[in-house]
Amino acid sequence: MSSDSTSAAIVQLYRGHLASTVLRRTASFLASLLATFVGLTAITFFISRLTKMDPVLSVVGDKATKAAYDRAYEALGLGQPVFVQYFIYLKRLLSGDFGISHLTAQPVLSDLLRVFPATFELATIATVIGVLVGVPAGVLAAARKGRWPDHMVRVVGLFGYSVPVFWLGLVGLFVFYGKLGWVSGTGRLDVFYDDIVTPHTGVILIDSALDGNWEIFTNAFSHLILPAGILGYYSLAYIARMTRSFMMDQLSQEYVTAARIKGNSYWRAVWRHAFPNIMVPLITVIGLSYASLLEGAVLTETVFAWPGLGLYITHALFNSDMNAVLGGTILVGAVFIGINQFCDLLYRLFDPRLRTS
């Protein structure tokens, strides 16, 4: 048997194996996604049953006759066994029916689509800040272990894990808006710019740039920079800490020494040899931090009166608008789970060590 045909057979075998692994991975990924989604909806369903508010009264009002009350009771399926009610709930969710918000008298879904771009804008800019500052800082800290860049990253991280985000927002407003006047105050735009921008995407920076309206662009930016900077700080604290520990693992390995012996400069060994090896876990960390920013924005949006998902949920909370609260929870949960699972999938697909188990 020639060695050529043997190696061809091995390649064939390997390809088949790879294809089946990818297929199996994808199947298990979809299964776990489904399980998590069922869990999420089960929990929100459970919460909606937990409230002391009568769901029938919220539909018919408290002056309804007994007959009208009973009709609504039947129509909502409340006479059915609990798991049947859950399936009715699931069916409604899958057809995009999150109910009507009592506060805005709009379908919750259309409300959510309207407010989501504001949160998306905030979280995206924050993540960009987190990556641009956090990754180099983490690499530097690992390369200069025990020296001042390392201590800086440690202090920045500890501070970020300990400081309440709503308080940092208030202090930021007090210093940069109240005292120094470097940035604009709360909201997305100054009042007199409201409703001028044509909503192409709902992201004001993009919309105003598309229209070529740079005055609004600048104004939107001056409103955005403080909340995005604060969220970006949390993101960079986490990303820098994780980058540091990933890089420490790599830098202690022998291939780095080998790269140095071959005559590479120290920084070339760090950036060109060690850094590419942390890309996969790093992408996961960035994804996780992005997902948690979409959530963490709840408090920041409240402080900065930023009309996004978080503010929508808190407003709904105080007006006992349970449909809106649960709709928002499901959207945040779905985005969170989606990003989590996507990173997990990336990890499994690109890290050969995880394929075997």
Binding site: L50, L158, F166, F174, L294, M322
Partner: protein, 300 residues
């Protein structure tokens, strides 16, 4: 005297169970005190406990609830060290009493979360198979959720209040403990001494509660200390949104919230309670980092 006691504590061949336990505690305490970050954390946490216990005495008789509308929003002075809030209440006294609320929440959440996590994790890890798959699937589902938003939804459904905030935080905080307890249990379950107990005819429950749980405790406690800051921040966030302790109770998050409208003119109303939250979280983070270095040198 100290010499003899020290020798008794440090003895490599303890003569009684009590001597072994006390000796271990003594050695752990020594390591923590020798670690500057852990020591700083310990000092801050001890200060929090003292503040909570001696609040009435430290506030020198000032009540956290007494209103003085004539002296509202007064700047920090000799009479009111941290100034007064929008109802003329003394912020220094309120910050001291706020330590009680924070400590209560932290203690209650730990008391709820650790047993749930231990029970789920050890049962899943020891029994394995079908139990393990189902319990871990449930844990994963909870882990995949956004914590704050879920706690918000729970708190909104249950109604505002400290007890409900504790329930909401606990419901979202237990999964990591189950994970830790499970992985510890899986290593312990394979050891010879467990096999020996099985051969002696011990029941599954006896093995779980008398042999496995005590060995999982230290990792759970370390994780709990590291998590404390997160619990405090979540509780303060709920308080800030009005879903935690209800007025007029002095709670740090709610105090920051009440100072929000006057932040540009009367900065102290929001700034000081926020600073308290920050310092206490920092203390728990430092202590947790230190404890982890002491008990689990691998991950340092």
């Amino acid at each position: 005297m100290t010499g003899a006691l020290g020798q008794w504590l440090m003895s490599e061949t303890p003569m009684s169970r009590r001597q072994a336990i006390l000796g271990n505690a003594y050695r752990a305490a020594g390591t923590i005190l020798a670690n500057p970050t852990a020591f700083a954390g310990l000092v801050i946490v001890a200060a929090l406990v003292l503040m909570a216990v001696f609040a009435p005495w430290l506030a020198s008789g000032k009540s956290p609830l007494d209103q003085d509308l004539a002296g509202r929003l007064a700047a920090p002075s000799a009479a009111h060290w941290f100034g007064t809030d929008e109802l003329g209440r003394d912020i220094f006294a309120r910050t001291l009493y706020g330590a009680r609320v924070t400590l209560t929440i932290v203690l209650l959440v730990s008391v709820v979360v650790a047993p749930i996590g231990l029970a789920v994790g050890t049962v899943a890890g020891y029994l394995g198979g079908w139990f393990d798959s189902v319990l871990m699937r449930i844990t994963d589902i909870f882990l995949a959720f956004p914590r704050l938003v879920l706690a918000l939804a729970f708190a909104a459904a249950l109604g505002p209040g400290i007890e409900n905030a504790v329930i909401a935080i606990s419901l979202t905080a237990w999964p990591p403990y189950a994970r830790i307890a499970r992985s510890e249990t899986m290593t312990i379950a394979r050891s010879d001494f467990i096999q020996a107990v099985v051969l002696q005819g011990a029941s599954t429950w006896r093995i779980l509660f008398r042999h496995i749980v005590p060995l999982c405790l230290s990792s759970v406690i370390v994780r709990l200390t590291l998590d404390m800051a997160g619990i405090i921040l979540t509780a303060a966030g709920l308080g800030f949104l009005g879903l935690g302790a209800q007025p007029p109770t002095a709670e740090w998050g709610a105090m920051v919230s009440s100072g929000r409208d006057v932040i540009l003119d009367q900065w102290w109303v929001a700034t000081i309670p926020g600073l308290a939250i920050f310092i206490v979280s920092l203390g728990f983070n430092l202590l947790g980092d230190g404890l982890r270095d002491v008990f689990d040198p691998k991950s340092a």
